[in-house]
Symmetry: C2
Subunit: 279 residues, 2 copies
C-alpha cells in the first residue's frame, strides 16, 4: 500500500491524540491502515441501524487471516442478534446496556472442543490438551483473531467495544450459547454504528518510553512517564467528565480491591469445571 | 475509509486464497485495510535490509492504540537488533534462523511488574494481582496490541512471524532481556522484508461454517468442514512441498504427543517461579 504524506491523514494530530502533546513519539511510516488503527476508541453507545450485509463474514475472514499457532485454529465465534439473548448477556455483564443496543454482538470463544473431537474421531490421544500452555496459546489465538475483526469493522466505519465481563459468569454464558465442554467465551465484542453522543475521544496511552525497551528492559523511564501520563489522563477525564482523573488513580481503583474483579477471582476453578485442566 | 469495488483489490481472489475455491464465504464490505488483513502470511526468511526509520515507533503506536482492559496497559515490548542476542534467542527457540535473519525482533512482554510498582510507590495493596484472571487479561492485552503492530507492519510491505517458542525457555529469555519478576515474554515477532523465496502463499483456514455460529453453538458443521479443509490443506502442502498433508494430520502431529510441546508443559511451574501466582 502506498504511503501517504503525513499531512494527508493527520499523522501528527493522530499521534498527539493518542499520547498527548507532551509525549508525541517520532513520526514513522504512515498510511490509511495505520491511521485507522490509531483512530481506535471503544464505543459504549450504538444506533439501532444494522451492520451492512456481509459484515459478519468479512470480519470473520479477517479474524481467520490472523496468525494461528501451528494452524490449530482455536477460535470460534458465536454471533448474537437475538434481543433476549443480548439482554441476558448485558445483565450478566453488570448491566452493560451497549450489549443490548448494538445490532451485532460477537462472543469470541476459546474452543478446544473442536480439536478434541478430532482426538475421539481419529482415536489418537491428545497428550497436549490438559496443560496451561495449550489453553494460553488458544486464548492468544482468539485475541489475535478478534483484533483483526475489530480492525476490519473500524475500517468500514463501524465501532466496537470488547466485553471482558463475559468472564463474570462464564458458565451461564456457555449454557445460553449452547457451548460444549472445553469451550469458553474469552470476551464479547459489541459491533455497530456509534450513537452521536458515544463516539468519544481517543483515549490517551502511556508514553512509549514507559513500555518500549531497546535491547534490554529498563524500568527507569516508568516513574517519569507515569507523571506525564497522569497529567494527560487528568485533562482527558476533565474533558469527558469522568471520575478517577489520573491514570494512577484508575490503576489503584482497578487493581487494589478484589471486589473490582466481580467474582473473576474464581476463574480458574470455573475453567476446571468447564473442561480446562490448566495443569 | 471509502470502500473499493471488489474488482479493484481482488476480493474474490483473496477469499479463495484464504479458504480454497470450495469454501469461499459471501463477499461483504471490502477496502484496502481488509485486503491487507486477508493477505497475511507468516514469513520465515528475511532480507538483511533494515526496516524504514520510525517503523518501530509506528508499530508501537499502533499496538498501544488497541483496546486494553480498563486501560491497565499490561504490554511491554523489548526491541532486539543485537546479533548476539538474536542468535541466542534463535537457538532457544529450536534454531529458528529467521530470528537471526530479521532486522528487527520484538519480544512482547506480559508486564505485571510496571503496575505492581505502583502498588509499592502508592502504598496500596493490589488484591487482584495473584489471580489467573488478571494474568489472562494481561496476556489478551498483549496479543491485541501485537496484532495491531503486525497489521501496521504489513501495511507498509513488511512481513512478520510470531514466535511462540519464546515459551520454551521463559527464564533464560527473561534473564537475557533483563526482565524483572512478573514480566514474561508471551511471544516474539520477527519483522522485516521477506526474502524472495520465503514469501509463500496465504495459508488456508477452515470453512467459516466450522467456526462461525449464529445465536447458538452448533458442532454439526465441523465434520463436513474438516473434510473440505483437509482437501484444501493437502493441495496447499503439495504446492509448498510440505509434509503432513491434511489439516487433520497436522492436528494429530501437534496435539497428540507431549514431546511436540518442547517442554512447555512446564509453563505453569515456570510462571510461578517468575512471580505469577495464577491462583
Amino acid at each position: 500500500m502506498d504511503s501517504l504524506t503525513p499531512a494527508d491523514t493527520g499523522q501528527k494530530e493522530a499521534l498527539a491524540r493518542r499520547y498527548g502533546a507532551d509525549a508525541v513519539p517520532p513520526a514513522g511510516p504512515w498510511n490509511e491502515v495505520i491511521a485507522t488503527l490509531l483512530d481506535h476508541r471503544s464505543v459504549r453507545g450504538y444506533r439501532p441501524d444494522p451492520v451492512p450485509a456481509g459484515t459478519l463474514e468479512t470480519m470473520v475472514a479477517a479474524a481467520q487471516s490472523a496468525a494461528t499457532s501451528s494452524n490449530m485454529q482455536w477460535t470460534s465465534v458465536v454471533a448474537i442478534t437475538d434481543p433476549d439473548k443480548k439482554k441476558k448477556l448485558a445483565e450478566w455483564a453488570g448491566n452493560q446496556k451497549h450489549i443490548e443496543q448494538c445490532p451485532l454482538y460477537l462472543c469470541w470463544v476459546t474452543d478446544m472442543s473442536r480439536n478434541s473431537a478430532i482426538s475421539t474421531a481419529e482415536k489418537v490421544a491428545f497428550e497436549t490438551m490438559p496443560w496451561l500452555e495449550t489453553f494460553l496459546v488458544a486464548c492468544v489465538d482468539v485475541a489475535l483473531a478478534a483484533q483483526n475483526a475489530v480492525v476490519a469493522a473500524e475500517s468500514i466505519g463501524l465501532r466496537t467495544v470488547y466485553i471482558g465481563a463475559m468472564r463474570n459468569e462464564p458458565e451461564k454464558v456457555a449454557e445460553l450459547l449452547g457451548l460444549p465442554p472445553q469451550c469458553f467465551v474469552l470476551f464479547g465484542l459489541c459491533v455497530g454504528y456509534a450513537a452521536e453522543q458515544a463516539v468519544g475521544e481517543v483515549k490517551p496511552r502511556m508514553p512509549q518510553a514507559m513500555m518500549l525497551h531497546r535491547e534490554r528492559y529498563d524500568a527507569t523511564a516508568a516513574q517519569a512517564g507515569r507523571t506525564v501520563h497522569d497529567a494527560e489522563m487528568l485533562r482527558f477525564s476533565a474533558r469527558q467528565e469522568m471520575q478517577a482523573g489520573t491514570w494512577t488513580q484508575r490503576v489503584l481503583n482497578r487493581l487494589g480491591p478484589i471486589k473490582s474483579m466481580n467474582g473473576r477471582e474464581r476463574l480458574r476453578a470455573t475453567l476446571n469445571r468447564m473442561g480446562f485442566e490448566l495443569r
